[in-house]
């Protein structure tokens, strides 16, 4: 049932990406809509200010909630993307050896991307 588990996680991460990406989009790009509905702060951030200003981004990232959202979004997106890529590549491989090699490369590249991506929010938190 290994592939079923992998695909089930693919499904779950797809849903979680939609939720977390939704939070990111509302925070970064749809602040005018929040203002229209009378919301003044979103996750403790004043929406009246431009969210793309570096100092505000830094302040936001120093909150555990936002750092958690970013890291979780990165993990889910990396899993979803690399597992999807693995599935596509495995369609073209015929031997079990090649399949293992593809999986190993995908895991290594994914971990490197994760380490690079997680570095910034963790550095800002500490």
């Amino acid at each position: 049932m290994r592939n079923t588990y992998l695909q089930f996680i693919q499904l779950i991460t797809g849903i979680l990406i939609a939720v977390l990406l939704g939070i990111h989009m509302v925070n970064m790009h749809l602040d005018a809509i929040l203002g229209f509905f009378g919301v003044e702060t979103f996750f403790g951030v004043n929406i009246a200010a431009d969210p793309t200003i570096f100092s505000l981004m830094k302040a936001r990232s120093q909150q555990v909630v936002f750092a958690g959202i970013y890291i979780a979004l990165l993990i889910f997106a990396l899993y979803h993307a690399f597992n999807g890529l693995r599935n596509i590549v495995l369609e073209l491989t015929k031997s079990a050896r090649a399949e293992r090699a593809v999986t190993a490369v995908i895991i290594v590249v994914g971990v490197i991307f994760l380490a690079i991506g997680v570095y910034a929010p963790l550095a800002l938190l500490s």
């Binding site: 049932m1 592939n3 079923t4 599935n87 369609e91 073209l92 399949e99």
Partner: protein, 281 residues
């Protein structure tokens, strides 16, 4: 057929462009043109039979029942998979037909594809009722009970004629030669959904493999092309749901259907059995 299409079809002859390939003589497939006289209601198979009987007896193709039941004459007509016996030439609204063997399968000769991989995939999912009670399975003493509602859950998939058209239409089968294919996967669901069956776990290990059910992209081409109107894509999705339910432990544990009790032996028939009129010597 509509009144308009009746008027459109005014051909006297049909140009058949048939793919020929003899692995013993040819390096690669090539096309040969034939002209077949048109008559109302002529099918693609009728045209091929005319060619074989009158123009070139070396043309190879499979055919048997001529009524869309045996699934032998599946082939690519004007780049879409059809049953040749079930497809009238009028449907194409053209007097030019290109006939090729089913794609995604090796060619034995001309229009004859090698279906051994196709049938091996079908066999791999154990397309028969599997029960824990081996003794009863091997030497049945009675029938297993099944309600019409239980039958409805898989009935349409029992109509599969194993023609290979779904595999020919499947984009995943085109790119992944080891893919089980929509026919085998749909039949896997057909048996797993059968209330008399208890072998879903055995089949799960096969369809959950690397070139199994999760490589289906749900293009739906199999359902679109199926000449019997089945929906293999639906069966594959339902099978995926079964596998996920099993993996996360949310599937309903159901006992397979019980054996129907035999009627009492002293029951008299409702209609009296007449005496034999022919007496033995």
């Amino acid at each position: 057929m509509t009144e308009q299409s009746k008027h459109e079809t005014k051909f006297t002859e049909i140009k058949f462009k048939v793919q020929r390939y003899d692995p013993e003589k040819d390096e690669k497939p090539h096309f040969q043109d034939f002209t077949v006289p048109y008559r109302e209601g002529i099918t693609v198979l009728d045209g091929l039979l005319y060619i074989k009987e009158n123009l070139d007896s070396s043309l190879a193709f499979r055919t048997s029942c001529r009524m869309g039941i045996c699934g032998s004459c599946a082939m690519l007509v004007n780049d879409y998979p059809h049953l040749a016996c079930h497809t009238q030439i009028e449907e194409f609204h053209t007097d030019k037909l290109t006939v090729k063997p089913l794609p995604n399968l090796p060619i034995i000769k001309d229009l004859v594809p090698d279906l051994s991989t196709f049938f091996n995939n079908h066999s791999s999912i154990k397309p028969y009722i599997i029960r824990c009670d081996k003794e009863e399975m091997e030497q049945p003493t009675a029938e297993y009970a099944q309600t019409p509602k239980e039958l409805d859950t898989f009935l349409q998939f029992t109509y599969c004629i194993k023609c290979g058209i779904c595999v020919a239409a499947c984009p995943t089968s085109a790119s992944d030669k080891l893919f089980l294919g929509p026919q085998a996967l749909a039949q896997c669901y057909r048996y797993c959904a059968d209330s008399r069956d208890d072998g879903c776990n055995e089949r799960a290990s096969t369809v959950d493999g690397q070139h199994g059910i999760w490589h289906c992209h749900f293009a739906g081409a199999c359902s679109e092309a199926c000449p019997k109107g089945l929906d293999p894509a639906l069966a594959i999705q339902l099978m995926k749901r079964r596998l996920v339910s099993k993996a996360v432990g949310s599937d309903k544990k159901k006992q397979p259907a019980a054996i129907v009790k035999l009627p009492a032996t002293d029951t008299k028939p409702k209609v009296p059995v007449p005496e034999f009129t022919v007496k033995g010597k």
